[in-house]
Amino acid sequence: MTMIDVWVEIDGNRVAQALHEAGEKLASDGGDVFLDFSAVRRIDPSGLRALEDFAGAADGKAVRVTLRGVNVDVYKVLKLARLSSRFSMVN
């Protein structure tokens, strides 16, 4: 089995689109994906939905997703949307 680590920097101005693109890169046989949220100051409903979809897709492919650099405000949004528990978080 090949383990492929994917590192995606999320553009703060096009969060939903960036996540859709990242979703297409998900391997079908597990591995780790790092999503770098350092440039995301705010997240909107479409971004949140895209992240939810991404989590679903990753679950389906047994891919572990780690979010990096999520700011406190966005972290609270993920918490309220009950999404934070679906990812690992690193600063």
Partner: protein
Amino acid sequence: MSDMTETVTDERIVYLEELVHQAKTAAAVFTQYTQEDVDRIVKIMVVAGLEQAQYLARLAIEETKLGVMEDKALKNMVATEFVYNYVKDKRTVGQIAEFPERNMVEMAEPIGVIFSLLPITNPTSTVLFKCIMAIKTRNAVIFSPHPAANHCCYEAVRIMYETAVKHGAPEGVFTCLESHNLQDNAYVMHHKDVGLIDATGGPGMVKAAYSSGKPALGVGPGNTPVYLEKSADLSMAVVDIITSKTFDNGTICASEQTVVIDDEIYDIVLRKFEELGSHICNEKETDLLGRTVIDPKTGFMQPMAVGQNATTIARMIGLKVKPHTKLLIAPIQGVGREHPLSVEKLFPVLAVYRAKSVEEALKVCIDVNHAGGLGHTAVVFSRNDDVIRKFGEVINAGRIIVNSPGSVGALGGIYNDMVPTFSFGCGTGGGNSTTDNVNVFHYLNIKRVARRTQAHMWFRVPNQIYFNLNAVENLRQLKSRSTIIITNPAMEQIGHLDVVRRNIPPETLVHVSVIPDAEPEVNVVMQGVEALKFYRVDQIIALGGGSVIDAAKIMKLKYESPEADLEELAAPFLDMRKRVVQYPTEKVNHARLIAISTTSGTGSEVTPFAVLTDKEQGRKVTLADYSLTPDVAIVDPQFVMSMPKGLTADTGIDCLTHAMEAGVSIYASPYTDSNAFQATRLVFKYLPIAYEQPNDEEARTMMHNAACIAAIAFSNASVGVNHALAHAFGARFHVAHGRANALMLPHVIAFNAGVPTKFMPSPNQRGYIAHEKYALAAELLGLGGSTVEEKVKNLIVATEQLLDQLAIPRSIAELGISKEDFERAMPDMVKIAFDDPSWRSNPRMPLLSELAELFWSAYKGRGPAKVEAASQQPHEEEVQV
């Protein structure tokens, strides 16, 4: 979930779940918005609402067939413009209020998803109002319109939603249930992601909201009583009532229902109503009206009449009225089921009642209030402030409207300065959690960020303290017409009394009261008070030890304030500034209290404490208040030169215990520390000399000063667990107070220097510092040691050496108390020690088991100093002295 939710189909559940999910997502995203963001969106929404006010009013009329188009348009404008005027400057994001004097700020936390039920009577105005509130507070709302107002509500929500989202609000912030039923409502009400239910609707829906187990805002039913009192401006009152009761055909639940009119003005008022377009029903018409518009089975209004105009209602009963009749007025003779028109009527039918007196009028208003209108709204027209005040007292209503219309007045912001609303909280009377006009602050969780505050501290001492040899000569400066000297027989025998008398100015009338040399008893004190009254004294000189001075303090209290109840004043307290029982401040007599101490220990000459023995009750009463502090203290060593050795030792160690306990007290301050540590230093230096060489004037002087200085410290910082132990042990085994303190002292130092099992709350201190304060004392005494632990150990050793020098027994066992007797006494001693207020300023809270351990340590006796790992705590800060 209730049974009702179980009947929702799977397909419907998917729809409802998506609705809630959408709202939850919007609410989560909304938390990132700033105050400026929401204020900008709100302003644009308000303008959109104003622009569509007439359109939405027409939609509402067409769909519901209730009310008046013009009035509904006005309501839509109030719901936007007036509400905006109230909310525009309100902070609802982040920090919303600041209380610098309390070191506290309030911050806003959105609720999240709100489920909002809409009424048929005010459908579009309620939507506009709630949308503005939701955006202002960063909440998402799922609306559930009344089925008969579905379309107009949906359209109002659409206008608000599109405007808000276009200008930056998160998608999904408002949604509206479509084709819904009670099961749908129940499902959403119980949903875990819904934070609040805001139910503006009929009683059934409000009840369902409250029954959901979710936090809910609900409007209770109304039945507004109006008292039209004879002093009122009648022309204004009649116009106001007509304006209000006919507004939107009476659909606002705060509108007037029964007007109670004083007999003297009844006919005039009815004539004015008639002149302004009302029809006054006769008895037969009233009866017919009651049977038609009120359901005889339920006693509630008939839906067919709600929101209809007066001529339509008249037609319902076959009553011929003039065209454009505004109001049907129905005289009633009482309130209750047998008087059907005394209930809520959301249409232009107004009951009137003729009252023979103010009392009768108020009682009828109370009856109306209790006939379905508790907590809602009431109205009074009067120029008599007493009548208005009484009405406000006896009527249970969240809104008591004075000299203005009920419905328009209750909305707020038009006739008064109440908060504009379309949702009236009715308090517990209406089954609600608030009596407020519901507003933006009910859509927020308000968080209090409370920063640590420094408690106000104090440092109080007598006005004047004269010290050093012959300080008694200062009595010559103190003018008095009539002076009494309170003293004991010994002072008379050894000549101290004469010394004092010699120093009192010759023009002063001097009287002497000799009391027993024991803790003052109630009868002794009361006899003394009689003497003070008889001689009409303006100065009291207490010459003696603690007992005499305590007696004089209480005599002064009772002389100046005869009503003072000593029993009550002895009530326990935790913080002197917050005590329940206050000492009297009104005085019928005034006397200066001068305390001349003849021992060097208690320091009673400067303390605010006094102990009284009540032999009849078999107990001691401790009084504590700064008003007990003597006005003048004279600390003259000539009065202690003849103290015997044993007394010198015991009182000297009492003084040391005061100093050391004040030094580590949780109430210690830089002011008390300076006194506590100086007294400690003086005792270690001079007590052995005073003990060995009683005639050493310097040693006696310094010990006398030390006692006073230590007392100043503990008067302001209090004592600690050492005193609690000593009180319990001394009382049980009749051991002198100073000696009992001495037996405990080394053990208590080790105890306080250890890591507490339980900390005492001490807002004035940063961390636990008792061990560091002991170490500081050791440094000041030059005891050496390089670590805190060593310094504390050296302090304990030095204390033990001092006690040895003073021939203080090394243990309780050495006093001849058997282990069995001690063991038997232990439960009581522990209980009494724990009840003793002294330890409440101790840095370490003693557990009952720890009190027992301390007693046993003292029983076994002092030995090589043992300090718990306690004093090895990191020394993080310099202790300021």
